[in-house]
């Protein structure tokens, strides 16, 4: 192995050589710099590989040929090697990125950059306190120089503030060092730790520690650092964020050894405040680099928490810290580099990226990595961290971390939304090949570490999952035209179903059919799209991959990963709609919020087991079981859009593309129901403080049904109407599950199937109509029945089925419902659901009437039927609905038997044509035949007596002796249920929306208030630093 001293010697030597070379040899200078950094990266990589292979053990290097305390010693182990590789690679890539700037600035800038990297490497390696101080001073001075690489005029001021601040830190560090030396007689950190002379009470130790922590720029004493991030050259910011912060973290981690871990709580506390505070402040930022600065600080806070919790993390410490650190470093460097190719600084200026899908891919990768989504390292790391925190009862800390992660996701995804949506400025981007290469390298590195962390993870590598790989493969197929990709997508889904068919149990099979057969059915409508439709297929397949994995997940980790994957996929899908940006952000925030609650629930249940099996949910300790149930249930209910957490749904479904809405409503929502089923099958009934949680769910289900239906009745937008109807339908299903009896579950499954069929069909019909008419507002349509007869039939069959009127399949749902409630323990919620029932007629009638009946508008007279590819799946759905109405046993019989093992009482009897329960009976085929015969007989009779009927024109109506004025004023459609609104409209007050808006508003106001703290004045920032030191000390050691 090449000596670790080369990390100091090589850059130092190169820097001196640069100074000695004659001026004007910029190219040679640049090549030398590159070469040095490349060599250093190689050396670091060779160390890392050797450690990883277990060939060598941690090595100590002693300078001056003697041992400490008389010499300085350096130490290199696995972590140090990884850190060095990260530092030097970041340096190398930044130098490539900075090619033009460095050519301009000349050899001195390159030398300073090399010194900077050298100093950072020194911080990572050294075990000597004074040596550490020297390296920190070197980084400070080098930073001062490198800030000037930027063209931004504010950089000078920022650099000056930086120098002032770092001098305070240095002084603190130096004073602390002096006293530590005085107390322990050594400057060697390991010596101090081993000597035991330094106690946790030592003020000197506190000073050193707080100085190093301040190097991490903790919130709120970090105004000086933010100005640097904002005004420095982005390539330098990348180094500062990825490399300098990493080095400082190594130093903090090392120093905490002294004083036998007594300062760990301090690190945790400062970390958590930073993580929450910085993410909160980032909410109100519009400047891209400043937001990245905040995010860097937040990530450092999180890492500080990890360091502070290392006493409980045990063997996972390096895995967790490394995962978060790498995710942060790569993503943040990547984002800073990306910001370097954007001309202007507002977040919306990043729209310039739209022109190149590869940029968008890189951007999405970095954001997913920062948020800690699968399959990136942060995901594995957060999983382990949360589990270990929960296992040691550090729940408050855990919740604070998850809350801050949610804030982080909020501003990052909101930013992503700005970028994807809206008009791009074509000149907003600077393209240079070297910069592109660097960004591409970061993207590759991101996926590389994702693979690496998966390999190291206890739970197995997510990147080995075939559905996920299939979804990712569609990224490589983006150049294909829609028909090819569509055929491929359909075949992949069907193929996966065929391959796995035998392994599904009846419950899984129902969901598998909906996802893997129903999905392709809806995808048929996508043949209508033209061009390449970039981004649609990877997102769709990602969602389906998550769903397919979800239903077969055995461990909580697999389940959660699948959940996150389907959430990301569906988020991208929702975001594709024209005006869906605010709804997509609302969706992802509610989904991630729900997911974090689930994560907490799983962590509580697992009690430290990092690979917890779902089947063990039944054996969770009674003390935590109700909490686990509660957290998981809320998590799942965000996906089923139960009332209270439903506000994401209407907009998301309404604004999505025509073929996306049915997927979201028909398929995606079922993920939540599946989760609830797994949960309730394993955990059964749980009570919290004497309240039966299934009883609460009954109420939630009933209220969702009622309010969903009411809201649907008052919508003018057809897709919004259907969206609210979905909330209600899922409310029924939730209600069925919460009944916790055999028929209740059968009811829920019946709703799962029915809702998939009719809601997909209705969304497709309405989507087709909206495509033709160019509006979703129902009162602007009317009389389309003759122009779009097939769409009308689909809607007609759909609404009969939804309403539960015999003879279609909706009636089966109602029949099972009544049988199920006969044995219900709680009757009050039933009243609500009874009230909800007939309200469905209101919106269903309105849907069909205002679109297809009534007066045709002049501008619609030339309309054609919806496109063939949209009609085809609708007609297939009509056929499915008919079959399911006639022989519900096809789908339900097996499940009915399967449920007997969980709910032995109350199964149905399926003998002959009649389905019999304990209370009643129902014969679908007889009903169909009887109704059919009566109907046809009467129809024939009418045809006979009315054979001469003439078709008349639209305005030929008995209009109180007047002639109707025009279709717009004759079509009774707008505010259709005005009297009803008068009577019950008060129930539709948007209280829930107001509640969440108020929370959002409060968070933003708080952030707005806090940001006044940063007034841009160097003196104020110095005071902040001092105050931070004093207050932290007082808080840590008590005021006494």
């Amino acid at each position: 192995m090449v000596s670790a001293l080369s990390f100091i010697a090589l850059p130092l030597g190169t820097a001196f050589t640069l100074g000695l070379l004659p001026q004007g040899m910029q190219r040679v200078n640049y090549l030398l710099t590159l070469l040095a950094l490349a060599l250093l990266s190689l050396i670091a990589a060779s160390w890392l590989l050797a450690f990883a292979a277990g060939e060598i053990a941690t090595q100590q290097i002693f300078t001056a040929g003697t041992t400490p305390p008389f010499s300085i010693n350096l130490q290199i182990g696995m972590a140090e090697a990884a850190g060095l590789l990260l530092l030097n690679l970041t340096g190398l890539l930044s130098v490539i990125y900075l090619r033009d700037t460095l050519h301009q600035q000349g050899a001195r800038a390159m030398a300073v950059l090399l010194i900077f990297i050298m100093a950072l490497s020194g911080i990572v390696l050294t075990r000597d306190l004074f040596n550490l101080f020297v390296f920190i001073e070197l980084t400070t001075i080098a930073t001062g120089g490198l800030i000037l690489l930027s063209h931004d005029k504010r950089a000078l001021g920022a650099g000056f503030k930086y120098l002032v601040a770092t001098q305070i830190i240095s002084i603190t560090l130096l004073i602390g060092t002096i006293f530590l030396y005085h107390d322990s007689g050594t400057l060697n950190i390991d010596g101090m730790a081993a000597g035991g002379l330094i106690t946790g009470e030592s003020l000197a130790l506190f000073l050193v520690l707080i100085a190093l922590i301040l190097e991490l720029k903790p919130f709120p004493a970090n105004g000086w650092a933010l100005d640097i991030y904002e005004s420095a050259h982005p390539a330098f910011s990348a180094i500062l964020s990825a490399a300098a912060a990493t080095a400082a973290l190594f130093a903090v981690d090392r120093l905490l050894l002294v004083g036998s871990n007594s300062w760990l709580p301090l690190a945790t506390a400062v970390g958590v405040v930073s993580f929450v505070g910085a993410n909160l402040l980032a909410l109100v930022q519009r400047n891209d680099r400043r937001i990245l600065g905040y995010s860097s600080i937040a990530q450092m806070g999180l890492l500080l928490v990890v360091v502070g919790q290392r006493d409980i993390l045990g063997e996972s410490y390096l895995f967790i810290a490394g995962g978060i650190l790498l995710a942060h470093a790569i993503a943040k460097a990547g984002l800073f580099w990306l910001s370097g190719i954007i001309v202007a600084r507002d977040l919306s200026d990043w729209r310039a990226l739209q022109r190149n899908p590869l940029y968008i891919f890189a951007f999405a990768t970095f954001i997913a990595m920062l948020v800690g989504l699968p399959p990136f390292p942060g995901f594995y790391a957060k999983w382990d961290l949360v589990h270990l925190l929960a296992a040691h009862d550090r729940i408050a800390l855990l919740l604070a971390l998850l809350f801050a992660s949610l804030l982080e996701a909020l501003f990052l995804f909101r930013w992503f939304g700005y970028v994807i949506k809206g008009e791009a400025n074509p000149e907003g981007i600077i393209c240079a090949r070297n910069k592109l290469g660097v960004i591409a390298a970061a993207t590759v590195a991101a996926w590389g570490v994702a693979y690496l962390w998966g390999e190291m993870a206890l739970q197995g590598n997510l990147l080995y999952s075939i559905p996920l790989l299939a979804a990712l493969a569609f990224l490589l197929l983006e150049w294909l035209a829609v028909p090819y990709k569509n055929v491929l997508a359909i075949s992949v889904l069907l193929g996966w179903f065929v391959v796995n068919y035998a392994d599904y149990n009846p419950l899984q099979l129902i969901f598998a059919v909906i996802i893997l057969v129903g999905g392709p059915l809806i995808l048929l409508s996508s043949f209508y799209a033209r061009g390449r439709r970039i981004g649609f297929y990877p997102a769709t397949m990602l969602m389906f991959a998550g769903m397919a994995q979800l239903i077969v997940a055995k461990s909580s980790f697999d389940f959660f990963a699948a959940w996150e994957i389907l959430t990301i996929g569906s988020y991208y899908l929702i975001l594709r709609g024209k005006a869906s940006e605010p709804h997509a952000i609302s969706y992802i925030i509610f989904s991630l919020g729900g997911a974090f609650l689930m994560l907490t629930g799983f962590a509580l249940a697992a009690a430290g087991d990092l690979n917890f099996l779902l089947s063990n949910l039944s054996e969770v300790a009674p003390a935590v079981a109700p909490w686990v149930f509660l957290l998981l249930a809320i998590g799942f209910m965000t996906k089923t859009a139960a009332i209270g957490v439903h506000i994401w749904l209407p907009g998301a479904h309404a604004e999505a593309e025509s073929d996306v809405s049915p997927m979201l409503s028909g398929i995606l929502l079922k993920a939540g129901l599946f989760g609830l089923m797994v949960l309730m099958l394993e955990m059964g009934r749980q009570s919290l403080y004497g309240v039966d949680l299934t009883h609460v769910m009954l109420w939630i289900g009933a209220l969702s049904a009622l309010l969903g239906n009411l809201m649907a009745a008052f919508q003018e937008d057809a897709k919004r109407l259907l969206a609210y109807s979905s909330i209600a339908q899922l409310g029924y299903a939730l209600f069925g599950l919460a009944l916790m009896n055999h028929l209740g579950w059968l009811l829920a499954l019946m709703f799962v199937i029915n809702h998939f069929i009719y809601k997909s069909m209705l969304f497709l019909s309405v989507g087709g109509v909206a495509k033709r008419t160019g509006t979703r507002l129902m009162y602007r349509m009317g009389g389309l029945i003759t122009l779009m007869p097939l769409s009308f039939i689909a809607v007609l069959i759909g609404i009969i089925a939804v309403s539960g009127v015999p003879p279609l399949s909706g009636f089966g749902g109602r029949w099972i419902f009544y049988n199920a409630i006969m044995t219900a323990e709680y009757r009050l919620p039933l009243i609500i659901i009874f009230l909800a029932g007939p309200i469905a007629f209101l919106y269903l009638f309105r849907l069909i009437h205002t679109i297809f009946l009534g007066q045709l508008k002049d501008e619609h007279r030339q309309l054609r039927e919806a496109p063939f590819w949209m009609i085809l799946p609708q007609m297939i759905f009509v056929a499915c609905l008919m079959v399911f109405a006639l022989v519900p046993g096809l789908a339900l019989k097996r499940v009915d038997h399967y449920l007997l093992q969980y709910f032995p009482e109350g199964g149905l009897s399926w003998d002959g044509l009649t389905i019999t329960s304990h209370f009643g009976y129902w014969s679908p085929i007889s009903i169909m035949v009887i109704v059919g015969v009566i109907f046809m007989t009467l129809f024939a009779w009418l045809l006979f007596v009315n054979r001469r009927a003439q078709k008349v024109k639209q305005f030929n109506i008995v209009f109180a002796a007047e002639r109707p004025f025009r279709p717009e004023t004759t079509h009774f459609a707008w505010n259709f249920f005005a009297p009803y609104r008068k009577a019950l409209g008060f129930l539709t007050e948007p209280l829930v929306t107001r509640f969440w808006d108020a929370i959002g508003e409060a968070l933003h106001s708080l952030a707005e208030l806090l940001r006044r703290f940063y007034n841009g004045n160097g003196q104020t920032y110095s005071v902040h630093l001092l105050a931070f030191v004093v207050i932290t000390f007082l808080l840590a050691r008590g005021v006494s």
């Binding site: 309403s803 007629f841 008995v958 009774f972």
Partner: protein
Amino acid sequence: MQFDWMQIPYSLLTLFIVLNYGMLLNALIAKIAARVGRRHGIPIWQNYADLLKNYGIRSSITHGVMFYLGPVFRLAGGVGLLLFVPTIFGSEMFSNLSFAGDLILALYFVFFGTLGMALGAGESGHPHAAIGVSRGLSQVTTAELPFALAVFAVALQYQTLSVTDIVAAQQGGFLNWTLFTNPFAVAAAMLGFLGSMMRPPFDVVLAPQEIPIGPPTEYHSSYLALMQTNRMIFPIAKIVVYMNLFFGGAASWPVFFIKVFFIYMVSVLVGVVFPRFHVEQSVRWFLVWAVPFGIIAVLMV
């Protein structure tokens, strides 16, 4: 219960009896209501005359397929409802086609005709039709609620959803009727009943006295005849459900005629006394006055 081909002629016989009874009963009730208002009223055979006249009208127009099918839906709903419920207790043949489904089938089949006719009326393009539908649907949401609660209470009380079994449980003296064993349920149901009979104070849906409004606005000739036929059958079919659930059913046709008449008269008595409600008023009225009885009934069973 099994299907037997002989049930078909008997069902048709039921239909015939009920249709004629309905013709006479409706005329009688119109007459009673007229007498309350100091008018003479229509002759007892007026409905036959109207029906024949409407079937006989030769000029007829159509606004489209759905318009054409609306009355068919309407009448099929009425006939179906009648036939899905056993008419005469203890008679295998007059239990009609109730082998196809239980009480729940009857409850939901009520909407079959309503929905179909509303769609047909919608296609006429007449705003008054749509306004009528809007009013009717609004009103039905809360008018049905007390009835649904009462049905649930009764089903819980007798632990069955089969209409025949519910009637059987009420045999052996009138004190065994649900009316006396579960008075709250019956109170709720009868208040809900008022809302579904198209009589004041809940008749703003059709508003028959003033302007042509409500779903039938555009219907005429044989369409109207079909709907009129339904108007003869449907109230009785609905009353049969009430009779079976709450008033001990009927073991013979004479008892059937009497019970149906008196149940019908409840809505007439109220109707001739009270003026009409706005839709929003009736929506609130049912929630405030009728639903609490239903809730008590459900909770007390």
